[in-house]
Subunit: 325 residues, 2 copies
Amino acid sequence: MANIKQIARQAGVSVATVSRVLNGHPYVSEAKRRAVEAAVEALNYAPNANAIHLIKGKTQMIGVLLPFVNHAYFATLVEGIGIGALQHQYRLLLCQTNYEEAKELEVLDMLKMKQLDGLIVCSKASSWDKIQSYAAYGPIVACDDAGDRPISSVYIDHYRCFELGMRYLIGKGHRRIGYCQSRPDSNSGLQRRRAYENLLGELGEPLREEWMLSDCVHMEDGAEVIDRLLQLRERPTALLVSGDTVAGGVLAEAERRGIRVPEELAIVGLDNQPIARVLGITTIDNQVGSMGQVAVRLLHDRISGRAGQFERLELSYRLLERQTV
Amino acid sequence: MANIKQIARQAGVSVATVSRVLNGHPYVSEAKRRAVEAAVEALNYAPNANAIHLIKGKTQMIGVLLPFVNHAYFATLVEGIGIGALQHQYRLLLCQTNYEEAKELEVLDMLKMKQLDGLIVCSKASSWDKIQSYAAYGPIVACDDAGDRPISSVYIDHYRCFELGMRYLIGKGHRRIGYCQSRPDSNSGLQRRRAYENLLGELGEPLREEWMLSDCVHMEDGAEVIDRLLQLRERPTALLVSGDTVAGGVLAEAERRGIRVPEELAIVGLDNQPIARVLGITTIDNQVGSMGQVAVRLLHDRISGRAGQFERLELSYRLLERQTV
DNA sequence: TTAATTTGTGAAATGCATTTCATGTCAAGC
DNA sequence: GCTTGACATGAAATGCATTTCACAAATTAA
């Protein structure tokens, strides 16, 4: 409730001296320092964060733009961002957009309004051009390849990840392969489709739209995948599933319906989530957690003006053989 | 980059008039309104959020204090809080404390420093007394029974939830029952233990410390539970597992080890998470999501001064019979 | 037509801490 | 003894938008 002026009066010094004591600046006599500390104690003073933010032009807050947090991939990403934020002394403003552009815009505006020192875009619906136009107001880092833009990015090569999974399945003798993922029109969705198409082309297998499943986000969606497959005349012998949670749903439902895994249906998951380990799902580890941590580092480099070029960091990945192939 | 003063000059009006236009106040002539709008457009103006926060003494931000977000229970809670925040126009500042008191304190200090309009405590390590001492600086709502304190709360009666699960198992003929949960010394942990002890007392069964498992947080911990049980001479025939994710780990590992569920080991989970539906785990639904939403409502009531007494809302719960008992 | 409102506008105060600038003291260096 | 630099301290400017207050002009009511 008290402000710095009252502390100054109580301690018998100027506000400048109080500020010096508060911020540990040199050139304050021991006597005055103690007087200020006593006044702070006596009046139960705490500085007003908003005043500090205003004058400093910094808030030590970074925005985290993502569709939802109740999802293994994003929760892991946020965990990583949290670790990075801790290291670099930032607070996280969580913005769940549900892929609505209007909400994404609101967050971008917070950057313009100087409420955020920077922004991490985990996944988005808006166009890159739109987002890029806000890069002038503050640094933006994307957890996805932002290409040749004034935006740093840490990302996973979705094409190669999918390629790796496909080649592994092909190596195991599969030719009738399907896949499922969340949004077919996202950057990752398009890349995966491209990888899928190219690999099938190599195999000389036809492209079957009905084996390319979309909107698989949660575990239940994985269960539904089995439903969908069971309605087909021809079924794939293997499935590449983006997200181990979904893969877990596929696996559980397959077993419930008496489809043996991997004999009748092989499954390769993605993201190496805990559920994959427990259920023995073969998956591709792509370091989602450290992606978040790195994102904060890149952002911090820009915020503190220490960065030169916009960086583009690609993360490595590897396939973990388990029991579903 | 521009500020309100420059807009005023450009539009040929006073800053007061600019402010009126910006905030949609009445009593501004159409001509000046248009002039201001044109200037805003021309200079690409956006108000400085920090200046607004300073003068208004409000930030439209609420803190969410929780140990980690990469966890089904908390992620669901945050989802609910997100919905509530949207309804009442708040932003969420996410504070992952990992149950470290120092970090919890930092968040509480943000309330004192007026960076937050209010705080939702999802789960904590600090004492209620400590937290309560910050209630003077801004409203606090707990997602746990805060008892007779100046803190509103929405909570689940952990005692009765556990009692319900136990009675269900007992009704199915089980007498040798164990349980697992995360933190034994938390409020929920103590209540559960009390319920467990009382019910065993009713049954006339001895209390076996080795059947009361702690630190079960993630899916892998559930798998480890089976390990731990297999090392015992005497094993329970049923397990009450706090958190369906953990229950899923228990179930998966049990099946992997050839322990038939429910014949050899019955499982009742908690929280009704998606995994419970997919894996057919009998569980107790306790509306975690709406708890978050309600928490924001209670907080908003206090922030806007519309609240009288501190509320204590208890949520209902119900057992969902599935295939693990 | 006069009194009472309603409408329109700007100057100035306000919220609060940081930082620059100016000034002053004291001791070390030449 | 005088110049320098280190140490100490406060007044005032700064960052930016909101809101109150005072006043003028235009209506409406009486």
